[in-house]
């Protein structure tokens, strides 16, 4: 067991790094999804915007100024994009969930194509900011420092989001809206404002995840679809609107993806989707989802 652990340490750490990134992505998607029944298929495109922002600013040289600038721009873009998405989905609120999903799918097609017009179809690598671009030794294995930092950021963010959701009145409002939207609006709270806030928050997380993930995964066309699928799987496994579920789901999927690729490369994607199917069959509402099944 110890030998196996030692031999696969790098894969396990990679799994946590992927898991951290997936958590940042999935938690936004999950709250939006669980709360507003908005299946935001543009979430992956927002990640891609963040990643290209990081590329644009860090291409001239990976400095801290450029990295923080990319993060700042990503936050600004995420806020605007979230507000726009909220306004755009509002007229469709009473229509079937498929219509909103299709609207965001259309938006993601447009965003991805505009990005490919600007940046072409090349695959770019993005450097980590100075000081984080080296490697460290972890139990005898050299491992990129930036990925360890990414794991740390993911965990810190998980704690922050958990505290906000469980310990503040804003969090209570969001949880209440996940549980029973009609009741919340009956209490005199404007659901549209909550929705704008939640979508803006979720979109910021997606664009920021794009910047943070840049130095690990680089950026290429089609990356949006890959990350969106992984994030959706995390959300469904974890359960709609559940922070704990998103964290555990992200870590499980990160490990399944990373270890699966290392140990059973030809079966990796089956294991991923097999895990999804298994969870859905055994617990249709996800591991930590609310009891009611969203219709």
């Amino acid at each position: 067991m110890a030998d196996w652990f030692d031999a696969n340490l790098v894969s396990i750490l990679n799994g946590f790094a992927i898991g951290s990134l997936l958590f940042i992505l999935a938690v936004g998607l999950s709250i939006v999804f669980g709360m507003m029944d908005v299946l935001n298929l543009a979430h992956g495109a927002l990640y891609l915007v963040g990643a290209y922002l990081a590329y644009s600013l860090l291409d001239g040289g990976a400095t801290w100024g450029a990295f923080l600038g990319a993060l700042g721009l990503a936050v600004a873009f995420g806020l605007v994009a979230g507000g726009t998405l909220s306004v755009m989905t509002e007229p469709l609120a009473k229509r079937p969930i498929l219509d909103q999903a299709l609207l965001t799918l259309g938006i993601s097609l447009i965003v991805a194509e505009v990005l490919s017009i600007i940046y072409g179809n090349d695959v770019y690598r993005i450097g980590a900011p100075p000081g984080l671009d080296g490697s460290v030794s972890v139990a005898g294995n050299t491992y990129p420092l930036y990925r360890l930092v990414l794991i740390g950021i993911g965990l810190v963010l998980a704690v922050v989001v958990w505290l906000v959701m469980e310990r503040t009145s804003i969090g209570a409002l969001v949880r209440a809206a996940v549980a029973d939207r009609e009741m919340v609006s009956a209490m005199g709270i404007d659901n549209r404002k909550v929705k704008i806030g939640v979508l803006a928050f979720g979109s910021v997380l997606a664009t920021v995840a794009g910047v943070l993930g840049g130095p690990v995964y680089g950026v290429r066309p089609g990356l949006d679809e890959t990350v969106l699928l992984l994030a959706l799987i995390v959300v469904v496994i974890g359960g709609l609107g559940s922070i704990k579920g998103a964290l555990i789901g992200a870590m499980v999927i990160g490990q399944v993806d990373s270890l699966g690729r290392a140990l059973l490369p030809e079966l990796a994607s089956f294991i991923l989707f097999g895990a999804l199917a298994l969870v859905l069959v055994l617990r249709p509402q996800g591991l930590f989802g609310p009891k009611k099944v969203a219709a």
Binding site: F33, D37, L39, P91, L92, R95, P96, I97, L98, D99, A101, L102, L103, L105, G106, I107, S108, L109, I110, A112, E113, V114, S116, I117, E225, L229, L232, I233, V236, L240, E266, S269, F270, F273, G274, L276, A277, L280, V281, P284, V293, A294, A295
Partner: protein
């Protein structure tokens, strides 16, 4: 994509017995004769297309029919049964690979490969639908998405059989042992596709209008009520899923024989997505609307695509966003608007019906 107010749901709901009303009102029978005229005209025009269209447009039309058939099979699921699938391309892909393998190893002679493709699509739907149909709402979206992804991954990874990412080439279609005459290959291929399309479309049309199809609409509109009337929604949805899978497989088989190259992309999410776009554009639940929607999609992507520098998806995305807002019931919705006044008059015969509707 509204769940109510489809033209064919106007039949008054039967109370109690499971038998769905057999005799339509006489006004609709008279309309039936007139109503048969436009499809007949369209059919005649379609049959003569190779005589007056150049080869390129004929090829495009062939592709429209192939993908249109696929869109109709998805409509059976989304529009009629109310099951919004994001992974329907899986069965298209299964059909395409089956037809490719049959044509390669057994016989490329029509219609064996497409029939085997339809059977394979149905079998795949039997195996996966049992799982998918149990779930509701967004979970159904997710499970079908997963089924689609697994299928295209399978196609990618079983490269001994499927050729992996290079795809596999398919022998050209033939009747009997003779290949098509090279000069008329495009026309013959078109007619072959047209015949299969018409038969399959008629079959799905009949299914949608049969008592079984009405039960599916009932489940779409109010599953709980259908259950209390004594139906077993799961069984109906499962059968609908398998039928849709079979027709998707058929379309996939046609695609393999027409395109002569099958690759994992043909089972992927992109195809499911643009087909949903076709449904939104054309109007879900009408069966003919999605064919028109698919025509727009195929023309933008395959015909104007090269002029757009490979950025056809940009145009499709814009069309997508506009269509969701402007055409809640697609092209069929526009046709419905033109017809509304007459239907109002029909309705007011039954007192209270107008307020209830």
């Amino acid at each position: 994509m509204s769940a109510t107010a489809h033209p064919t749901t106007d039949v008054p709901p039967s109370t109690g017995s499971t038998a769905v009303p057999a005799s339509p009102p006489s006004s609709s029978r008279r309309r039936g004769l007139l109503g048969a005229l436009p499809p007949a005209v369209v059919l005649v025009v379609l049959a003569f297309v190779p005589f007056f269209l150049a080869e390129d447009p004929t090829n495009i039309l062939t592709r429209i029919l192939v993908f249109g058939l696929f869109a109709v099979s998805l409509d059976l699921l989304v529009g009629i049964t109310g099951l919004p699938s994001l992974g329907h391309a899986a069965y298209f892909g299964v059909g395409a690979y089956t037809a490719a393998l049959v044509a390669d190893h057994w016989t490329p002679s029509a219609p064996t490969p497409v029939l085997m493709a339809a059977a394979a699509g149905a079998v795949a739907a039997v195996l996966t639908g049992w799982l998918a149909v149990r779930s509701h709402g967004v979970f159904f979206l997710m499970l079908t998405l997963a089924i689609g992804e697994i299928t295209s991954q399978l196609a990618l990874q079983l490269d001994d059989v499927t050729g992996g990412s290079n795809g596999m080439s398919v022998p050209s279609v033939r009747f009997g042992s003779e290949p098509f005459d090279a000069d008329f290959r495009i026309a013959y291929t078109y007619w072959y596709v047209l015949v299969v399309f018409v038969i399959a479309f008629a079959a799905m049309w009949l299914i949608a209008r049969s008592p079984f199809g009405l039960a599916l609409r009932g489940i779409r509109d109010n599953e709980g009520r259908m259950r209390s009337l004594g139906y077993t929604p799961f069984r109906y949805k499962y059968v609908a899923y398998v039928l849709a899978g079979g027709f998707a497989g058929l379309a996939g088989g046609l695609f393999a024989q027409v395109n002569r190259l099958v690759s994992p992309v043909d089972a992927g999410f992109a195809l499911s997505a643009i087909t949903l776009l076709a449904l939104v554009l054309g109007g879900a639940g009408t069966l003919w609307g999605p064919v028109l929607g698919m025509a727009v999609v195929v023309i933008v992507r395959d015909y104007y695509g090269p002029d757009l520098n490979g950025h056809g998806p940009l145009v499709l995305g814009i069309v997508f966003v506009i269509a969701v807002y402007v055409l809640p019931r697609g092209f069929a919705g526009i046709a419905g608007l033109l017809r509304t006044p007459r239907r109002r008059r029909d309705r007011s015969i039954v007192p209270g019906e107008e307020r209830a509707a």
